[in-house]
């Protein structure tokens, strides 16, 4: 059954249909929340809250956007809300990231796992606005238009944030 059919049935009160929607989208919803929040408990809470809010808001879901886009918007909003409430924004200066030696070719001479950890840490250290667009672009493979719909900003903002996010990541990883 297609997503939009499950949505229709869920709107009609079919909780089993909504359960199916949850099962289909829980992995990605959780992944986004986890990337934004950094720990399992918060990610699980944010993802579950997002699905519950989605259920109550189904009556207002126009069906013109994809369910996935709409759901991700709720996840992102809840996660960034949780982030802002938890702690003030961390700037990259505060983050303890050891830059990779710029002269070495990244990928050579470094343990793969260590490199992955550096990359993850660099992403983790981004402020929430920049981190969100990088996640949606690089990890969820969303188009600029879709990202714009998820974060509810114009496409120009998406492009600008991606540009700055990549600049910062390159700086942290000392690639430029």
């Amino acid at each position: 059954m297609e997503d939009h059919q499950l949505v229709e049935r869920s709107r009609a009160g079919d909780v089993a249909a909504f359960e199916e929607l949850v099962k289909r989208h829980q992995a990605r919803a959780y992944a986004i929340a986890y990337r934004l929040l950094g720990n399992r408990e918060d990610a699980q809470e944010a993802a579950q809250d997002a699905f519950a809010r989605a259920y109550f808001a189904l009556a207002g879901f126009r069906g013109t956007a994809q369910f996935r886009t709409w759901l991700y918007r709720i996840v992102v909003n809840l996660s960034t809300d949780l982030l802002r409430r938890r702690k003030p924004e961390v700037s990259t200066e505060d983050a303890a990231i050891q830059p990779v030696d710029g002269r070495a070719n990244p990928g050579e001479d470094l343990d793969r796992r260590e490199l992955r950890q550096r990359v993850s840490a660099a992403v983790e250290a981004l402020p929430p606005d920049l981190k969100t667009v990088i996640l949606l672009r690089e990890f969820e493979g969303m188009s600029y238009a879709e990202i714009a719909r998820v974060i509810r900003r114009p496409i120009g903002t998406v492009m600008s944030r991606l540009f700055h996010a990549r600049q910062r990541l390159q700086q942290s990883l000392r690639m430029s």
Binding site: A12, G13, D14, A29, M159, L162
Partner: protein
């Protein structure tokens, strides 16, 4: 220099495959003759490669089964929406419609502010039930379809004793 900066900005869209055909041609032509941009493109692609690797290798971070928690939250009822979240919702929604509606949104916000914010803290609307389930084809009562009106949600609940079917109706924003 100004034109060059514009091309630098376009490189992100280039690696993301977001350029129109015309833009693509222009950027490719520029790259053919610009060493700075070619190098920058290479760095961008390396970064994307690293990010992709990091993503693939951490994709094993398996999501726990969320349904029991979701179900429990649904059973608790619609969560209260804070005033600031509501205002922000109006602000953000205005981006999806023509800019003129922003004025309307601001007027709405002003009216809301002036009527006193405590009125808009919607209390929890609740069917506090223990079980949320639909069993189709059961003898007795079965709910085959529900068609809620605009701005209304409906849930089908089954009580835990005799299994009475309850269609719980929630109108958005109702106090």
């Amino acid at each position: 220099m100004m034109g060059h900066r514009r091309y630098r900005r376009a490189l992100d869209a280039y690696v993301d495959g977001e350029l129109s055909d015309a833009e693509l041609t222009r950027v490719q032509a520029h790259l053919a003759g610009c060493g700075t941009c070619s190098r920058e493109l290479q760095h961008l692609e390396e970064l994307r490669g690293l990010l992709r690797q990091a993503h693939e290798e951490s994709a094993a971070e398996a999501a726990p089964a969320l349904w029991p928690g979701v179900r429990a939250r649904i059973a608790r009822g619609r969560p209260p929406r804070s005033f600031m979240a509501w205002i922000r919702g109006i602000w953000e929604a205005s981006w999806e419609r023509p800019r003129l509606s922003l004025a309307g949104a601001l007027v709405t916000a002003f009216l809301v502010l002036s009527t006193g914010y405590w009125m808009w803290e919607a209390p929890v609307v609740t069917p506090p039930v223990h079980t949320v389930a639909v069993e189709p084809g059961e003898e007795g009562v079965d709910v085959q379809a529900i068609d809620p009106e605009e701005g209304v949600s409906a849930m089908v609940l089954t009580t835990s004793g005799e299994g009475l079917k309850v269609i719980w109706v929630v109108a958005q924003g109702q106090l």
